[in-house]
């Protein structure tokens, strides 16, 4: 898993536990961080807004990866849970006057509890039942968002204020970028560390063989619930950030399409790795954007075929998911590790 470069040896537990072990790793990480911080100063508004959406997707996808990748439970309701977080956060800030800094984690908590309510019955049974229960959560929650109009304003949409932290209002892309960046980094660090704790290892054991895990004393029910709780919490945070970014939320944002996008993100990125979720989220946000630009420029040449190209976009999207599953089942993350290993071992690649 963690392949160290030749000549680097861990001689103490402290060294062994370090996330970023070698100077090269640390320098490249620092360089990457600097690049991320410099990004909005260089990029134009369109690119920065894309980056914000990528960041929000990263948080959601990492959350789903904790449930699906670490613990091996499938959720087809992640999009609806993101929606719950969005609505709760929006209502807390607007109606109850809760400051954003408290409303965001609170939205995460509420979402996690809603998630538990739906996940609880299915966790008693092994197998694919959680997938189906989350599907029904998706349908039921979306119905509530649509029809409980006294609270959610239904399809006409709920206006949301820009978040304010200690008097500073994040009301443009430039400042919001840093907010999302900070939250995303925290989320990633937590997930990466979770993987190495007792909880994370227990989840991995459940994923790989639940019977064996139970035999060595892992409480299946408890750890599956923990995974589901943390995953829904992430979804709630992502929803909160999304709501305060777009400032008008409607139930259409949180349909099953969204859930599928998240699932596709972690599969394309690489199941069970934090980096994979990041790569997958980037891929999933940029792919429709690229396809859209492509279809826009093409429909400029051939008018009246807009519908054709938008449908073509679906076909390509579906096809890409299928091709990934057949030809790159371990995702972008695996490919990235292969590339790294290639350079590390070059020119003696055997």
């Amino acid at each position: 898993m963690n392949r160290l470069p030749s000549g680097v040896f861990n001689t103490s537990y402290q060294q062994d536990a370090q996330l970023f072990r070698t100077p090269v790793q640390r320098i490249s990480l620092a360089a990457f961080l600097v690049a991320l911080i410099a990004f909005p100063f260089v990029g134009n508004a369109y690119v920065v807004s894309l980056a914000i959406i990528v960041g929000i997707y990263v948080i959601g996808a990492v959350g789903l990866n904790i449930l699906t990748g670490f613990a091996g439970q499938i959720s087809i309701g992640h999009g609806a849970f993101v929606g719950v977080g969005a609505y709760v956060s929006a209502i807390l800030v607007a109606e109850a006057g809760v400051p954003f800094l408290i409303a965001m984690p609170l939205a995460g908590l509420v979402t996690a509890c809603v998630g538990l309510g739906f996940g609880l019955p299915s966790l008693r049974v092994k197998g694919l039942y959680l997938a189906i229960a989350t599907l029904s959560a998706q349908v039921i929650l979306n119905y509530i968002m649509n029809n409980w109009s006294s609270v959610t304003k239904g399809t006409s949409g709920l206006p949301v204020d820009s978040p304010e932290i200690l008097g500073f209002v994040f009301n443009n892309d430039f400042s919001y970028y840093f907010l999302v960046l900070a939250v995303a980094i925290l989320a990633l660090l937590f997930a990466r560390n979770l993987q190495r704790t007792r909880i994370g290892r227990a989840m991995t054991a459940i994923r790989d063989n639940d019977l064996a895990a139970e035999l060595i004393g892992i409480n299946l029910f408890r750890y599956k619930l923990t995974a589901f709780f943390i995953s829904s919490f992430y979804a709630g945070i992502a929803g909160s950030l999304w709501a305060h970014y777009v400032t008008l939320i409607t139930p259409e944002h949180f349909t099953i399409v969204e859930s599928i996008n998240y699932l596709a993100a972690i599969i394309i990125g690489g199941i069970g790795s934090v980096l994979g979720a990041v790569l997958g989220a980037v891929f999933m946000v940029l792919l429709p954007e690229v396809l859209r630009l492509l279809s826009d420029s093409l429909s400029g040449i051939f008018p009246n075929v807009g519908l054709f190209f938008s449908a073509m976009k679906d076909v390509i999207f579906g096809l890409i998911i299928i091709l990934f599953l057949i030809y790159e089942p371990r995702g972008l993350n695996h490919r990235w590790q292969m590339i790294k290993a290639y350079w590390k071992l070059w020119p003696f690649s055997y």
């Binding site: 499938i74 029904s136 119905y143 029809n147 073509m312 976009k313 599953l325 057949i326």
Partner: protein, 294 residues
């Protein structure tokens, strides 16, 4: 009372279509433990194929119905061979995701070919309602009910009596044992996809005759989940009984609850039932309880 009977008839008709879609779903799940999210798209494509043959090609309805079934058979085989075969042995999550990808792709393809407008069949059945006692029942309802019953009975007999049907059940029961008895498991997988495509097409054609066809037919693919959970994920009789039950439930909640709570309640009612079933009887009415041995 008349209202109740009217609702019951409508519920049974929709329910029998559900039963058919669920039958295909359960078949695939039983034989290859794949959860098929593309069932709704198979239904849509079947319905559009039949419509295209009848309207654009001018083939008589019964002929085009038969041709559609043959085409659906081919489609099922093709899907299995092209997309599912390479996935044998892959983790179950990937296979589920593959069927989701498949459903997105198939939906896109059918929009490209047939557009998003609602299209209707030419009048195949007479629009004169049949009077039974004091209530009027559209003729197409009766035909749908009859046709779906015929198909359900035919498939039940197929599984009970024919060599192939028994081979399919054997595969579903234990793949390794079936393999050692000389059954080609790959062929059975292909066949289960073909049958799923066929029954979905029949369901689609019936629905198309009732309400017309547009892209929203695909949502019937999701309705299959409450049905199969209620009936038991691996039970063919369960799928049929639960299909009818969910159809009735939807119809009653549409008739009685919609005015009270607001529109659309009948769309979520099956999913509420799904959650309740998971809570009290997770293996469904007829599902086999799985006992794991080390």
């Amino acid at each position: 009372m008349d209202f109740f009977i009217q609702l019951s008839v409508a519920g049974l008709v929709i329910g029998s279509v559900y039963a058919m879609i669920a039958l295909g779903f359960v078949l695939i799940y039983k034989s290859s433990s794949v959860i098929n999210f593309a069932q709704g798209e198979l239904l849509l494509i079947g319905a559009f194929l039949c419509l295209w043959l009848t309207v654009d090609m001018g083939i008589p309805f019964l002929m085009s119905f038969a041709i559609t079934l043959v085409l659906a058979l081919g489609l099922g085989f093709a899907i299995e061979r092209l997309f599912l075969r390479p996935m044998i042995g892959e983790p179950i999550l990937s296979v589920i995701m593959l069927t989701i990808g498949l459903s997105i792709m198939l939906r896109g393809i059918s929009i490209i070919i047939w557009g998003t407008d609602t299209r209707t069949f030419p009048e195949v059945f007479s629009s004169e309602p049949v009077k039974i006692g004091s209530i009027n029942i559209p003729e197409v309802y009766l035909w749908s009910l009859l046709l779906s019953m015929i198909f359900l009975v035919a498939f039940s007999l197929f599984f009970k009596k024919t060599r192939l049907g028994i081979a399919m059940r054997a595969t579903a029961d234990d793949q390794t044992a079936a393999l050692s008895m000389g059954i080609s498991v790959k062929r059975i997988f292909a066949l289960s996809w073909a049958i799923a495509a066929i029954v979905a097409s029949v369901g689609g054609i019936l629905l198309g005759n009732i309400n017309g066809i547009n892209i929203s037919l695909t949502q019937f693919g999701l309705k299959v989940f409450p049905v199969v959970i209620l009936g038991g994920l691996d039970s063919i009789p369960g799928a049929i009984v639960a299909g009818l039950m969910i159809g009735l439930l939807e119809s009653y909640s549409g008739g009685y609850l919609d005015p009270l709570i607001g529109s659309g309640i009948k769309e979520v009612m099956p999913f509420v039932i799904l959650m309740i079933v998971l809570m009290i009887k997770p293996y469904g009415l007829f599902g086999q309880e799985r006992i794991e041995r080390v």
